[in-house]
Assembly symmetry: C2
Homo-oligomer: 637 residues x 2
């Protein structure tokens, strides 16, 4: 592991003081057009605005006004954690201001902060749900109260603000809140944790940003206190709160998926800053087992609606996938931290998979509605959610404009605004490309400044052209991630013939000159994917992937089918310039009075070709039934 000097005020969500790779500022990575450029535009144009409008409409921002005006608790709206979504909106705005520089957005950011600031109490406490006459006392409900969780998001938002616009009133407000937390939950204070991890992430990053060790030490205390049963036992078990097993004794993630992943990400942050390799190794091993045994093809995590939790190993039902959007984002956060630490391309693979197939799936094409859960199998067409009231969160049939628990839309917004931070990294002597976007980047390595132009319409096609716009004279190394699925990839450097490259990471080390071109070709033809035989829910089924995209069959594309569940796929798979189709035979169903019998009779229709679409676009055309995993026409064909 390399100890490297890093500007703690670099415009990126995570700036560890050591690690194999250094993050780039998202202001040094410009994404223009293409898949992710389009998503960032959607975020700027619609998603952030929608989140703000909805939180005005449902009164969650208004809760701060109500606090100032003495109208609490009577006029408070939303759940106990409503403040946190306002902070996540502020984080999204802050990154977006840093990325695109909109002064209009900056004015809106400052206007919201001006409504929040007067609510902070003299000792730094800030929450609209506790502590006033008629409200429960501060910290009287650590299991469900979410006060520390709200601070965590406040701190992440303040880091985003500080790293894009410098210290201001909001950063100072956050500093007072962080100091308050250290006072109240320090070694002499309340020796417990909050029910929902998040404060750990916020404190470490705020400590990195400010250079103040006490915040990191406090985060370390929170990480160490977990798993010792300081929170109540509940019907879901203490694993719901991540309070059943100490983090360093965890062998696989269990319980509430978002909580597990936020905690793990915070634990990596703590481990990095405290040099606690035992803690870092434990998280890495637990995550590896979780990825190998408890993760959906989409990268989604969480197999149970009950408790929003991981299942046990290989328990991955498509139809009951919870796969919360926030769990996907939390997984990206954890993978990004481990990528920075280890440089292992598998983390880049998983980030790519999860960004394309969970994060990008959540928002509708117009950015006005979102998936909270991300099922891999829709058995009955969904009903259109109301446009004027929030929907229940687990209503996964169609995207909804807003949810009673609406953590996901603001999480999508902050992730898309900061997406540049995931594209590339540097080391002392090189630049590493992890995610393929159309755009350009500037990087500073020991030898000097590197400027690159990236041209691609990935993932439509697999050509990624990297042009050196500026290079130091000395030799340096350009590394490119070759996804694990990209068997047969080739790399061409300058005028040299393309040569085959292994999956993992390919590195070109040389003295580059401006105008040099490195071209990576990833084989994009659609491919069949088979599940581990221990995944009961997928037995006898196969899926199609194309590049990083998981494909799916929507009933709207197979009008001759009554229901997509009657589809049985043959071995036929076509990919004509990205238009993917599979051979399909329709199951003739026979209704009896009991669904079990002594004979297994399956009658199938003739083969026909039906199109598949990327999973992240499903249900954009209205209610439909949908499958990612497709039953085989013949058990082995």
């Amino acid at each position: 592991m390399t100890v490297h000097a890093i500007d703690a005020r670099i415009a990126t969500p995570v700036a560890p003081s050591t690690g194999a790779l250094r993050p780039l500022a998202l202001t040094d990575v410009r994404i223009d057009g293409g898949f992710w450029g389009g998503m960032q535009e959607l975020n700027a144009r619609a998603i952030i605005d929608n989140c703000e409008a909805w939180m005005e409409r449902v009164g969650w921002i208004g809760n701060f006004d109500a606090a100032v005006e003495g109208r609490l608790p009577a006029d408070r709206t939303g759940r106990e954690f409503a403040d946190s979504d306002v902070y996540k909106l502020l984080e999204a705005m802050a990154w977006e201001i840093g990325r695109a520089g909109s002064e209009n957005l900056d004015a809106r950011f400052r206007a919201i902060v001006a409504r929040i600031a007067p609510v902070q109490e003299a000792d730094g406490y800030l929450n609209t749900h506790f502590g006033r006459p008629g409200q429960a006392p501060r910290y009287s409900d650590l299991e469900w109260g979410h006060e520390l969780y709200c601070y965590g998001h406040l701190l992440q938002a303040a880091v985003a603000r500080g790293r894009t616009r410098g210290d201001d009133e909001f950063v100072e407000l956050a500093r007072r809140a962080a100091d308050h937390v250290c006072e109240v939950f320090g070694p002499e204070g309340i020796l417990r944790v909050g029910g929902h991890p998040e404060i750990e992430l916020g404190l470490v990053e705020f400590g990195r940003y400010t250079g103040q060790r006490r915040y990191i030490d406090q985060a370390a205390l929170f990480v160490e206190r977990r798993g010792h049963g300081t929170l109540a036992d509940i019907e879901f078990g203490r694993s719901y709160f991540q309070d059943d097993v100490p983090v360093r004794d965890t062998t696989v993630f269990a319980g509430h998926a978002v909580r597990a992943l936020y905690l793990a990400a915070g634990a990596v942050d703590v481990a990095v800053e405290t040099g606690d390799t035992g803690l870092a190794d434990a998280v890495e091993a637990a995550y590896a087992r979780t990825v190998a045994r408890r993760t959906y093809l989409t990268g989604g995590m969480g197999s149970h609606h009950e408790g929003e939790s991981f299942g046990v190993d290989f328990e991955l039902p498509s139809d009951r996938a919870y796969s919360e959007t926030c769990a996907g984002i939390a997984s990206v956060m954890l993978s990004h931290r481990l990528l920075l630490q280890t440089g292992d391309s598998r983390y880049g693979d998983l980030i790519e998979r999860t960004l394309y197939n969970v994060v990008a799936t959540s928002p509708a094409a117009d950015g006005c509605s979102f998936y909270y859960t991300n099922t891999l199998h829709q058995r009955v067409p969904g009903t259109v959610p109301p446009n004027d009231t929030p929907s229940p969160r687990a209503s996964s049939s169609l995207r909804a404009p807003w949810f009673e628990v609406s953590c996901c839309p603001t999480n999508v917004a902050r992730t898309l605004a900061s997406l540049g931070a995931y594209v590339a990294t540097t080391s002392d002597d090189g630049v590493q490309l992890h995610q393929y976007v159309n755009g350009s980047l500037d990087a500073h390595i020991d030898a000097g400044t590197v400027r690159l132009r990236l041209d691609t319409d990935y993932p439509v096609h697999g050509s990624i052209r990297v042009e050196i716009l500026e290079s130091p004279d000395a030799e340096w190394a350009l590394s490119l991630r070759v996804p694990a699925w990209a068997e047969g990839a080739t790399l061409a450097v300058g005028a040299d013939a393309a040569t085959a490259v292994e999956t993992g990471t390919v590195t070109v080390r040389r003295a580059f000159a401006a105008g040099d071109v490195v071209q990576l070709e990833l084989p994009m033809a659609a491919r069949w994917t088979e599940p581990d035989p221990r995944i009961d829910a997928l037995r006898g089924q196969r899926a199609v992937e194309r590049g990083p995209l998981v494909m799916c069959l929507e009933s709207i594309d197979a009008p001759e089918l009554d229901n997509v569940d009657e589809a049985r796929v043959t071995g036929t798979l076509r990919d004509i310039e990205g238009a993917v189709s599979v051979g399909l035979r329709r199951l003739a169903t026979r209704d009896g009075d009991w669904p079990y019998s002594t004979t297994a009779e399956t009658r199938l229709g003739d083969e026909e070709l039906v199109p598949l679409v990327p999973y992240n676009t499903w249900a954009n055309r209205g209610p439909s039934t949908m499958r990612v995993w497709l039953p085989r026409a013949e058990p082995r064909d």
Copy 2:
């Protein structure tokens, strides 16, 4: 449908005034030995005592003392519906007193009633959770308060008492409560329903017992009010409360399974007494679709832990089967009502299946612990529940002595005590045998008295010998249910050679004489069972049944397997005098870092024979992993 005069005070839980078949008094059916005789003995010896001891220990009976002594709400224990379990215990005791005549048990029954009686208020209201200073007002929380649910169980207990020992203080107490409900929720009263159906069943049966029409009319009002959204919407949706769709518009059961089934049973009762064939037909059709598409092989119902609810059609995951014991019992209750109405042997089949594979599965062999949920697939060995504190209800890995929500043990107790009521029925000119027990019965038909002796060790063997002990001189009809699985069954009458009989119902109509013997032979050899191809969770798997018993593979019987999930079954199936075994090949697993790949490689070990055990005995030998549905070694072998 036959209108028949019936003694409304006959010792049986359900005494409809019309229907195809008439119930027998459980006092006229004596079960001695055999499977169900053993279960009734276990109930008498252990289960009822355990329920009583636990409810003293956790204070649920003591809540009534606390009410008398003015110690409520401070000293109240248990959930809002704790009173109902005391009433279910009383119902179990009442039937058991009727069945076996224990005066000791009668004294205990009266002692509990003596503690309850003083709690009833002057206007008939009775509940330990509402209405006192410091408690919420009466009927202020119809969604969750369970006051009407508690009355429903009180009325069923009173019916059991009245029909076995005649009117007494407890029946009078129940009458005052029923009158109170009619006052408060009548046409001029609160025009809403309770969150958990059950009052409907209680009111109709109490109406039948007392001959008072007003109770039946009130039940009809409750049934008609459902589905009109008089209860709040919640995250699970109003289907949780069965308040989303009017009963007569229901096409399939959805939402909370126990609530759906109790309501349907109550609706049938109402329909029968009011001649509302539209309502009866709607329930029958909805139930038929539910049985055909939303029912586990065991007869269990409820596919989601979240909301304890039915899934959609063909969504029947083994590993997440909720299949609550109470839902199985409620299904038996509904099937029994429809059997009495229609005479259709399929209801007898389903009662048998559910009794053997859900109800009998719940209690441990010693009667001291119970399953609340009944999974069909245990992926990791369970942990032994505490002996000294109640367990969470959804902890399905091992049976627990008591639960925080402990509706199931008392439900098992009352069902086993009244089991005689399910064995046989009469019509004007015949006797129908539905469940095969070892024992004897007396029946009264138009021609006179019939007395029968039943000898069998079913389901170990398939011979059921029926000897006529007493018969009227005139011709009458003896009918026997031939289960749908019993292809190849034969019947021998007297000295005649056995002849093949169709599945369904076989009827022998003749002038019988004492000493005549009718012998039914059911083919019991273990058989493979295949799932409907639309059940995703069972693709590529098969199960073994033997007679009415669902079999399962427990890891304890396959010590060479690391985990039962690594078992792949061949086509080999042996049944040597009931000792069932299957051919099994072990899956060689290969751990990677990602559970999806381009190749589906399955390596299997050599075939070996492993024993299966009846599902209802699983986990009686300690923690194990278990599967009912076994993946095939070859997709089609």
